[in-house]
Symmetry: C2
Subunit: 205 residues, 2 copies
């Protein structure tokens, strides 16, 4: 067995930038969703022919998987940062909701959240299930954070972690939905502010 440690590739080099093409695909999936975006749409927007697309990404499904990973890395990392970047969970969740309102109305980018709306009602259940898992994992992660905040004395002992996590995520999903329906950033920020009025506060006994 011989190993190839050479830097330069062997055959004809790729004529397009794979990352640029991936981002073009991301915008399309983000705006139109998985099912409504055809290979024709993709190859046109990515500036490459269908065979090049399949050589580089394997299939529509695999391309979408890469798009989702890149989307989460580039446009959804603010979620983790909002929680871990604040000294208390209360401030973290407030920031999470505020930044959600901003994230789903970024000028020059598609409205809404790809994870929330790109794979509702697809004919391929696996794709739908993949994003569903991402959403439910987010709820579970927030539930864990709430548990820690209760144990740490920040939140009341009678707080239900699962319910509170579901409430926060329901608000975020509502914000993402309404962004798609045309609501302004200011309106969505107001939703975020209002939602925080339901956040539990520990009253000193």
């Amino acid at each position: 067995m011989r190993y190839d440690f050479s830097v330069t590739a062997r055959g004809r080099p790729r004529q397009f930038d794979r990352d640029v093409a991936l981002r073009a695909a991301m915008m399309l999936f983000w705006r139109q969703g998985y099912e409504a975006t055809s290979i024709n749409d993709l190859s046109t927007a990515m500036g490459i022919g269908a065979p090049s697309l399949y050589a580089a990404f394997g299939s529509k499904r695999k391309l979408f998987d890469e798009v989702v990973a890149e989307y989460v890395r580039r446009y959804n990392s603010f979620m983790v940062e909002a929680i871990v970047g604040e000294p208390t969970l209360t401030r973290g969740v407030r920031r999470l909701l505020r930044e959600s309102a901003v994230a789903v109305t970024r000028p020059g980018l598609p409205r809404g959240c790809l994870v929330v709306s790109a794979a509702t009602n697809t004919t391929s259940p696996e794709v739908e299930q993949a994003l569903r898992k991402l959403r439910n994992d987010g709820i579970k992660a927030l539930e864990g954070a709430v548990r820690m905040a209760i144990a740490g004395g920040e939140l009341p002992d009678d707080t239900n972690p699962r319910q509170l996590a579901h409430y926060v995520f329901a608000t975020m999903q509502g914000i993402a939905q309404q962004a798609r329906d045309g609501a302004s950033r200011a309106t969505l920020e107001a939703i975020a502010e209002l939602a925080m009025r339901a956040w539990p506060v520990k009253t000193p006994a």
Copy 2:
């Protein structure tokens, strides 16, 4: 011009119950969405051939329009009733949210809300826009109710009607979404309860 007031139809009578077929189509669109439901799916579930379907309903698009109207009449009328059936808007909205949690998890019926999720990311923008209008009309209606509650002295004068209406609908859409993602009715009811903690209360000056 001669008018036909006869009760019995002229030609060969329809071999199926139009309302039953419409309801079968509704279940399919509700569960799978507009785009992911094919004419083949429909004609199978409705128990009729494609030509009969087109003779009775015109087109997939027109069938969907009828389905939406029937859905709103049968499964979304609780919204208006919740608001007008309570003495105060505060109690009306609480009931609206609670019953939303129940409505999107009815046993034996598809999860979620057809208006919320049946036409996201369709290739035909008109269908998508039709449901979008239904959603935004709901927000506007609630905004009007909030305005009246402020004028009537129930809610604080500094309440922003548009923002509050958006907040309530965002919560409802989040509840509908999470129903599709598998959340239990109890969890969704807890979201509704939590959401009401953000509802404004008039404190006597």
